[in-house]
């Protein structure tokens, strides 16, 4: 440090300009290791700072792209009519109102639809966890002929888009019959569309919403557990089912939680099966929200689409809220679950 100041002092003192002197000073600076070190440090500090800033800006920007519309929906759901027509109002309403929420929740029949929807997705989730863990365990621990072929079929099931088979599914459940038994009893195949039974039947047989993925996750997880646990259980005289229920499933808790959460949230959000099987809107809130705008518009005689949109925003917030609460509370399990329980092979 001292040497550097000396060098700068020297530059200041020279009033007569000469090339020779300049060269000397340049050489002095060049050979000055202290100065070189300082410069390197400043450089790397500056570089680190710039990279950090760039990263920060990128992350903030991307987060904004994701959160922006959510914020927009939440704030505009509080707008009153005056706020909506006032071009000066942006994001923060001047005369906030809860009227949108009261109307939206009335037309959605919120608490009843929500509890129906929750019962629907929770029961399906429980079936999903039970069946998929069983199948995953079977694939992970037992050897049987054609096992590799069957497991390849599980992967095929993940890959094939559901829409390929939507028509046959529709036809199957419109004229539902199991090996001619129902025809024998009732005389004709029954139509079980517009009830949630088709979804339950498909889930029980391991073909529900994204069941293939869950089977895959469970299989990966069970394969990672040590075999000794089961051997110990076997030696101690536990039967197959006892081992599976009381020992393996307990050990697989992380993946059980992951699958449970995902299954529930996705089932809650799903409208594809709801639409395909014509399930009543009162059972699936994410399907009911689609008709909310039209309902409010005709019954309340609101003709401006911009105002209709405000009601829809309030409805969306109401539908999103349970999922977001679940997500915030169990956030850790969501992400760690994906990381740990073997979507990554």
């Amino acid at each position: 440090m001292a040497k550097t100041t000396k060098a700068t002092k020297a530059t200041k003192n020279t009033k007569t300009f000469s090339v020779q002197k300049l060269k000397e000073q340049y050489m002095a600076l060049k050979t000055d290791t202290q100065f070189a070190n300082d410069r390197k440090r400043w450089q790397s500090n500056g570089k680190g700072f710039l990279i950090g800033l760039l990263k920060f800006l990128l992350i903030v920007g991307v987060s904004y792209v994701i959160l922006g519309p959510v914020l927009g929906i939440v704030t505009s759901s509080f707008f009153s009519n005056a706020d909506n027509y006032n071009p000066m109002v942006y994001m923060i309403p001047q005369e906030p109102t809860l009227e949108r929420y009261s109307k939206a929740s009335a037309y959605l029949d919120y608490w009843k639809t929500l509890s129906n929807s929750m019962i629907y997705s929770v029961t399906l989730m429980m079936i999903q966890v039970f069946i998929c863990s069983m199948v995953g365990y079977g694939f992970a621990r037992y050897k049987f002929p054609l096992k590799n072929l069957f497991f390849a079929l599980v992967v095929v099931m993940i890959v094939i888009p559901t829409h390929t088979i939507m028509l046959p599914l529709y036809m199957t459940f419109a004229n539902f019959d199991v090996l001619g038994i129902i025809r024998l009893i009732k005389g004709a195949p029954v139509n079980i569309l517009s009830t949630p039974i088709p979804v339950y039947i498909m889930t029980v047989f391991g073909c529900g919403l994204r069941s293939g993925l869950y089977i895959y996750i469970f299989n990966q997880f069970f394969r990672g557990l040590p075999k000794e646990i089961e051997e110990a259980a076997f030696v101690d005289g536990a039967g197959t089912w006892y081992t599976y229920f009381r020992i393996m499933l307990v050990n697989a808790m992380p993946s059980v939680i992951t699958v449970a959460i995902f299954s529930m949230v996705w089932q809650y959000n799903d409208t594809f099966y709801g639409k395909l099987f014509l399930i009543s809107d009162d059972l699936i809130i994410s399907k009911k929200i689609a008709g909310l705008t039209a309902n409010i518009a005709t019954n309340e005689k609101i003709y401006d689409p911009a105002i209709q949109q405000l009601y829809l925003d309030a409805g969306i917030v109401l539908v999103m809220l349970p999922v977001v609460i679940i997500y915030v509370v169990l956030q850790k399990y969501f992400i760690e679950g994906v990381e740990r329980s073997g979507i990554v092979g």
């Binding site: 959510v70 069946i131 199948v135 094939i160 888009p161 992400i335």
Partner: protein, 305 residues
Amino acid sequence: MKKKKRKMTLTRKRAITGYLFIMPWLIGFLWFYVRSLFMTMQFSLNVLEVRPGGGYTLTFAGLDNFIYAFRAHASFKQILTTSVANMLIDVPLITFFSLFMALLLNKKFHGRTLVRAIFFLPVILNSEAITDAMDLARSMMSGGMSNAAAEVAEAASSGVSIEYYIQMFGSLGLPMGMIEYIMGAVARISEIINASGVQIIIFIAALQSIPGSMYEVAKIEGATGYETFWKVTFPMVMPHIITNVVYTVVDSFADSEVVELAYDTAFTNNNYGLSSVMSLVSTVITCLILVIVCRFIQKRAFYYN
């Protein structure tokens, strides 16, 4: 001899137990998937009429449905090609964007959990109604529908025209196709971000599974950050790129316009045969793309162990 026989029965016993465990899925798969796939193929070769009392009649029509879809249908070919093209554009973008973000988020910093939670949010809020409303909110926030025309006029009058910059890059020697690709990528940045939640998490997990000793070796050997990325990080996450590509392709096809068209054709226009043709063709194309891409990457992939 006796011992061997007993061993045989044990393996057989275990095999039977194994079958019992997978039985529900196996029945379901045969019942809902295998049967349905055959039915879809059958429908696509027939004219299907729903009988009033329930049930349906099939009249064999040969390849008429296929010919109609490709020769006479107003929008099928166009929608199919745009869907496939969109997917082909999106897949590399999403893959590289999520790898990039995973590299950023992999390092420890304050608020990492929060940022990860935000990035994962689109996966949770993937309901159809919610995403539709969000799209609308997004366009409202970036000017809204009423302002769009005004903005265009303003841009035209202010002298800053994007065309000029495109021309400039063009005259720098960058190929026009690449510029258009980048422009397209910038225009759909929000879609890409929203579609890469799961992929980012998978890549983060992949990055964390790389043993630290590899980086130590690279450091001791004097590799720069750039070299470390291409020689250590990239080959190690290569297998997970396949996982991510498969996930992205399936996900982007599940809510593409072809699916909507097939749905409308079946349930609004009651043309079940044509709808089956559409589903079948799009599925076959998806599978082909998956197979080709996986082959392509697998040749270059490096498997640790």
